[in-house]
Symmetry: C2
Subunit: 321 residues, 2 copies
């Protein structure tokens, strides 16, 4: 099958063996896959992953191995964490934290930059007919945005600042805006800020004149830079909350004293729930189409990744149809 491989460098092949679904797994033909910042981390050597990367996808179930189901032929998206199902974490409902989990295209499992993938049937969610492939492929990152709403109570009267106008920052702004709270996105790119402001999000350009006052109930750090966390601590009110959405905030001397003095809550946030993301897309409450920068064929893998890396790029998709 066609696949984009990472074995120290990124290559395209049309001769990669298609995966076989294990007991309880579905074989899914990928329609479309999205390039995420985590894919760049993988290409830089993050987690030492080798194989097919990619974890944002929409596809069609080709067959299922060994469980009764009605999924064949259905268009689906899928939760990327494949938990063991029997450990303490799994039994407590913390499947995304199962220490033995495999993660699609990230840890020990080939991912979605290929014509076929396998995933446990229980990980799959049927896509409503009114939602296109180009929209449904955003379900996974949009679910990560909804995770914030799973973790903390956001009041309709809260003032919220999201730092970082990348793909995830914009999706977070659009998801949190559903609460009717006062949501502002701060970033450095006019075109990206406009993608959010066109859907009613307040935006601020980050410049050296940015006002450093403690005026937000909640600040979401989505810049992916080590400086973002300290910036957030300068902008959140005492007893406020800082949500960390970036895993790359490391290797920096960080002063945690403001967390104690201002009694801040810092909440780490990762993968999220698919159902509300699919509902918001289907109900046309969040329009992800303006976030698509360009769509490539798998044979154009290198160009696609080059494009996705550009400063002004948002989402780059790979079309396997």
């Amino acid at each position: 099958m066609k696949a984009i491989l990472f074995n120290g460098e990124l290559t395209y092949t049309n001769r990669y063996p298609a995966p076989e679904p294990q007991e309880g797994e579905a074989l899914i033909r990928v329609n479309m896959a999205g390039i995420c910042n985590t894919d760049f981390e993988i290409i830089k050597g993050y987690l030492g992953f080798r194989g097919v990367p990619g974890h944002e996808f929409v596809g069609i179930v080709e067959k299922v191995n060994g469980v009764s189901h009605d999924l064949s032929g259905k268009r689906v998206v899928g939760e990327i964490n494949c938990a063991c199902g029997v450990c303490d974490y799994c039994l407590k409902g913390l499947k995304t934290h199962c220490p033995d989990r495999k993660t699609l295209g990230i840890t020990n499992k080939d991912g979605a930059f290929a014509e076929y993938i396998t995933l446990p049937v229980n990980n799959l969610f049927v896509v409503p007919d009114n939602t296109t492939d180009e929209e449904a492929v955003f379900t996974e990152p949009l679910a990560a945005a909804f995770e914030i709403l799973e973790q903390i109570h956001i009041r309709p009267t809260d003032t919220i600042l999201i730092l970082g106008d990348g793909k995830l920052g914009i999706l977070i702004a659009l998801a949190l805006k559903l609460t009717q709270a006062d949501v502002t996105l701060a970033g450095k790119h006019d075109n990206k800020l406009m993608a959010a402001s066109n859907q009613g999000v307040n935006t601020i350009k980050i410049t050296p004149l940015f006002p450093l006052t403690k005026s937000y109930d909640i600040v979401v750090e989505a810049t992916g830079t080590p400086e973002g966390f300290e910036f957030a601590l300068q902008l959140v009110k005492p007893r406020g909350k800082v949500v960390l959405k970036s895993t790359v905030a490391k290797g920096k001397e960080i002063n945690l004293a403001p967390v104690v003095i201002d009694e801040i809550q810092v909440i780490g946030s990762r993968c999220g729930p698919f159902e509300p993301a699919l509902r918001a897309l289907s109900r046309r409450l969040i329009d992800v189409k303006p976030l698509i920068t360009k769509i490539y064929k798998p044979e154009q893998a290198k160009e696609a990744f080059e494009k996705a890396k550009e400063k002004d790029s948002l989402k780059v998709l790979i079309d396997f149809r």
Copy 2:
């Protein structure tokens, strides 16, 4: 009056002018005051404080300026944050975070290592008759321990680890134990661990063989060292909580990625509520007397501070009676 002064160095004087209570303030004759780690930070230059340090006290109200009250002659302890009462924070009940607050013996207000202090009447709490001065002087640090219970929900089935067997770590262990959760105190000092284990707290000696497994629902960082936070992240379960009680965790390269990957909540925690602390002391549910290392007269200020600094010391008190 007698006072212990810090003006670049610590000195004792018996000729310091007694303070005059402002409108709404009480004049309080100090019976007893406690030395806290924050006092050491002040002596090292923390916050640039000059004047009389000291913020843990019990005393007797001598007179009140300009408000109707029934406090004269009453034995009291007092909230150390003197808020402006009119700013946004004060109006929202966040008095301990008032940006214009003065703090007894810490910021812009002479403290309790003196025969007399002043505090707003509204900051004072009457000490029950069955509680001795030696016990009541622990109200302020015990309130800081109770602050954790104000901030997060602790379930009776939670497993909790407190890192650091100093005065505050022990008081936290004793306060959290009231929830009937499974509380363990980890530290390096046999005599301090014993002060907690004698009251039914599980204890573990921190050695190079300390098991680094993610097995606690809640970890409280009370070591006062920058390493404590990273140690806490290695011991807390995914989706667990880390409470930060030390303001000195700075100047260290900290990797925040585990906070995101394990979706940890980090909660900064500072001053707390006096009423439950007084109730727990009065009801004999927490015995603070074994935490008293030695009691000095104010003239012995230097010896008292030297003693308080010793590795095996817990609370050192100054007796002004």
